[in-house]
């Protein structure tokens, strides 16, 4: 059931803590069925934004809507359709893995027990083990199991892979999130805030980069890769000066030059070619490189 109502809609969101602005006029729109990346440096306002989406914090100004509903008005309806994995996972330490999953399932109308069994096996989580005996990574795995088994329409992940070992991280991203979205194509949305952008490279459809609570860049992943290009050229003598637009950054090193281009890479390529380099190549930036470039 595909709908035009966006999964997430944020309109000029402002959230202050005392005098400081954690989020300052952020706007974004996440279409249903997409995997949306939400990138930013530490303290950029990612977690605050997510908490406003979940009605854990109330916006100072602006509006947030999930599936067209306002979280503070339709709290239950909103949360019935989403699952959230926080950056710092905490459970009641006396509970076992089994107790915790039963506890989480008690809030849900729907709970996929088969997925639960599969994921517990995949993550090698012993359901008789007490939560207090789990490592940080295992607690994150448990939180992910709890989120995915509820089969929500929207999965909000705040630094979901921190603390996971590389094997589990890859398995989680490719298998769990991939499978979660593939189970109902076009219906299930993932909103992921992460620093490990490379890990999500293949999954992200669209992303927003925020800095100091403000949107810096919002792009489709494919469009970003075609827009942000890196041109490398090697000259016979010392590399000439290149200060032309839309080159974002030029790095010269003797006979070699590396130009990062933000849009219209073909025109820059033509101009570099006109300087008769010994060799020339062009490649798209990864999302992580785009993130770094746009914040520097």
């Amino acid at each position: 059931m595909k709908t035009d109502t966006p999964a997430i809609e944020i309109d000029h969101l402002v959230r202050k803590y005392g005098r400081s602005d954690a989020v300052n006029g952020l706007s974004l729109r996440v279409a249903a069925g997409r995997c949306y990346g939400f990138f930013g440096r530490n303290g950029a306002g990612k977690t605050t934004t997510i908490k406003c989406l979940l009605n854990l914090l109330r916006p100072t100004a602006g509006a947030v809507r999930i599936f067209g509903m306002e979280p503070h008005r339709d709290e239950v309806a909103v949360k019935s359709r989403l699952a959230y994995v926080p950056d710092q996972v905490a459970f009641h330490p006396w509970m076992t893995v089994r107790n915790t999953l039963d506890y989480l399932a008690s809030f849900r109308a729907r709970w996929n027990q088969q997925t639960e069994r599969e994921l517990l096996g995949q993550f090698r989580l012993d359901d008789a083990k007490k939560v207090s005996a789990l490592s940080k990574g295992q607690k994150t795995q448990l939180a992910l199991v709890g989120a995915v088994c509820a089969e929500p329409e929207l999965l909000i992940l705040d630094e979901p892979t921190s603390g996971l070992d590389p094997i589990v991280r890859r398995e989680f991203i490719q298998t769990v999130i991939g499978a979660y979205q593939d189970a109902a194509p076009g219906e299930r949305t993932v909103f992921v805030s992460t620093h490990l952008i490379t890990e999500f490279e293949g999954l992200i459809d669209e992303f927003t980069i925020i800095d100091n609570g403000k949107e810096t860049l919002t792009l489709e992943a494919d469009e970003a890769r075609s827009r942000f290009q890196k041109i490398r050229a090697r000259f016979h003598a010392e590399a000439p000066t290149m200060d032309f637009v839309p080159a974002q950054k030029v790095k010269r090193d003797g006979r070699e030059v590396e130009i990062t281009v933000n849009g219209d890479a073909a025109r820059v390529l033509d101009r570099v070619k006109a300087m008769a380099p010994e060799s020339i190549s062009m490649e798209g930036l990864t999302l992580e490189e785009i993130f770094i470039e746009s914040l520097q």
Partner: protein, 546 residues
């Protein structure tokens, strides 16, 4: 059973067990110690109700699970209802058990004409209505529990002061309030002066308001970050005020740069909450004393002020060492820096010595010397002119100034002060030991209280069983007092040393097997038995003629 309810029951179980222990007391108490058991019943009942009220929401903050709870697809109103229903059932069950056993085995108490039925009923009702609200406000069980006790005390104290004013001047404005409350309650409370009925009205209104505010607070609760709860927050001054207050200390401390000095500075900084508490205590007592002196000078003596001063001392003296000891070890665990501390170059022993020296020093200075100095100053300034109104200050003045020694000879005074120091050190050590077993300050405080209650119960039980209170005793013989105090002090020191050995063991190993815990429990029981033996010895040695 709904897993959510099962979880809430699990949270309330330890506190409920306190109520069940209170319910067992009338059954196991012998015919000669009704009075002792009644004190314990009330104490356990009050503590159990308070902890239950605090833990129903406080537990979520303590484990940082409030984020998990509030992000689930269930309305906050429903979560509130479910939690409060579980709390109500647990409180009702505990109260019913206590009442049932008291009615069956200690009927004499409840059948007495002056049995405070309403006061008894107000404990669980107050715990139900007000503790959750304060816990939600402070996002901490400990602070919630503390404020729950302090707030009505302050309100009722203020009410009492107004009542006194009204009695002095029946035409005053406040008279209307007491007349109104008297009219409201005169049918069921025979209180011509009207204060008791006003107290009841205030408490009923207070409970209702707290209950509504609690609901509102929960439905609008914001969770800024996972460590916004007290578990990850420091108990202390706001940053700006701290910068101003601590600037001279930092300047002074910058001269000491050795490893041990750095560790001591860190530990002193950790004790900020104790210094804040001591400052508040000093300001409160000084203000009250000045208020009293002013009111005495203009002839409008305020009878409630000495009660408040005594109350402040009575709360401050035992609470401060427990806070200092708990903070010393458990606070770093709550912040998650305890393990990291162990990776630093100073040895575990050095770190422990810095910790214990700072904690004991802080506790003895703030917990004994400061109150003694305050009391002595107060005694010298105000005691003489108001001997009847402030009897304790008068005593203190005579006891600690060279004009006279009612506790003479000097050896007795010295023994008394040593005993006070040893008692303070013991309380601090209990809290330090408790801090090595648990993961945050509030738990350490709870465990310390538990250890103290159980030890006192063992001592009282043994002493009462051998009817030590029935032994005829000599009165006011200074030799007997000196020896008694010396024996008491010795026992306290012995217990303190044992606690420090156990605490250091726990601190160093960090992991404890059940066997080790069982041995430690046995040693603690033996220490309590040793305390009882000391009391019995003193009572036997100085018994009077049969």
């Amino acid at each position: 059973m709904n897993p959510r309810t099962a979880k809430d029951i699990r949270v309330l179980r330890p506190a409920l067990s306190l109520l069940l222990v209170a319910a067992l007391l009338p059954m196991v108490s012998g015919p000669h110690w009704h009075e002792a058991s009644e004190i314990w019943i009330v104490g356990l009942f009050f503590t159990g109700c308070l902890i239950m009220g605090a833990e129903i929401f406080g537990n979520e903050f303590q484990h940082n699970t409030v984020l998990l709870l509030l992000s689930q697809p269930i309305s906050r109103a429903r979560i509130w209802r479910e939690k409060m229903r579980t709390l109500a059932v647990a409180l009702a069950l505990g109260t019913a058990c206590v009442l049932a056993t008291v009615l069956c085995f200690d009927r004499r108490v409840v059948l007495a004409e002056d049995f405070p039925w309403l006061g008894f009923a107000l404990i669980p009702i107050g715990a139900f209505c007000s503790v959750p609200y304060w816990t939600l406000v402070f996002q901490s069980s400990l602070m919630g529990g503390l404020v729950t006790v302090v707030t009505p005390t302050v309100i009722l104290g203020f009410n009492s002061a107004l009542h006194e004013r009204w009695l002095q001047n029946p035409d005053s404005l406040v008279g209307g309030w007491f007349k109104l409350t008297h009219q409201l309650h005169q049918l069921w409370v025979q209180d011509p002066a009207g204060e008791e009925s006003s107290v009841l009205t205030i408490l009923v209104v207070y409970c209702a308001v707290c209950c509504w505010l609690g609901y509102r607070k929960f439905t609008l609760l914001e969770v800024a970050n996972a460590h916004s709860s007290a578990a990850g927050r420091e108990l202390g001054l706001p940053v700006r005020l701290e910068n101003v207050v601590l600037r001279p200390m930092r300047l002074l401390g910058s001269k000491f740069t050795g490893v041990f000095a750095v560790l001591m500075k860190k530990e002193l900084r950790l004790q900020q909450v104790a210094f804040v508490g001591a400052t508040i205590f000093c300001m409160l007592v000084t203000t009250l004393a000045l208020l009293f002196a002013t009111s005495s000078a203009n002839g409008s003596g305020q009878g409630w002020i000495p009660v408040f001063i005594m109350g402040s001392f009575a709360i401050y003296l035992p609470v401060l060492p427990l806070v200092v000891g708990s903070v010393a070890v458990a606070e770093e665990k709550a912040w998650g820096v305890a393990d990291w501390q162990f990776t630093l170059p100073p040895s575990t022993g050095t770190q422990w010595r810095a910790k214990v020296l700072t904690a004991m020093g802080t506790s003895l200075i703030l917990g004994v010397l400061v109150p003694l100095a305050l009391a002595a100053t107060g005694g010298m300034l105000f005691g003489k002119s108001n001997p009847e109104a402030l009897p304790f200050l008068h005593e203190m003045r005579d006891g600690l100034t060279p004009h006279g020694f009612p506790l003479a000879p000097v050896s007795t005074v010295v023994a008394l002060i040593c005993c006070l120091l040893a008692g303070q050190a013991l309380l601090t050590s209990i809290a330090i030991y408790a801090g090595t077993l648990v993961t945050n300050t509030s738990r350490a405080l709870m465990l310390s209280l538990g250890i103290i209650l159980v030890s006192a119960g063992i001592i009282a039980g043994i002493c009462t069983r051998v009817e030590v209170w029935m032994l005829p005793r000599q009165t006011a013989e200074s030799d007997a007092r000196t020896v008694s105090l010396a024996v008491g002090g010795g026992v306290l020191l012995l217990s303190t040393c044992m606690l420090h050995i156990l605490a250091f063991w726990n601190y160093r190993t960090r992991e404890r097997s059940r066997k080790v815990l069982a041995i430690q429990l046995l040693l603690l029981v033996l220490a309590a038995v040793q305390g009882a033996a000391a009391i019995l010895f003193v009572a036997w040695a100085f018994r009077g003629p049969a």
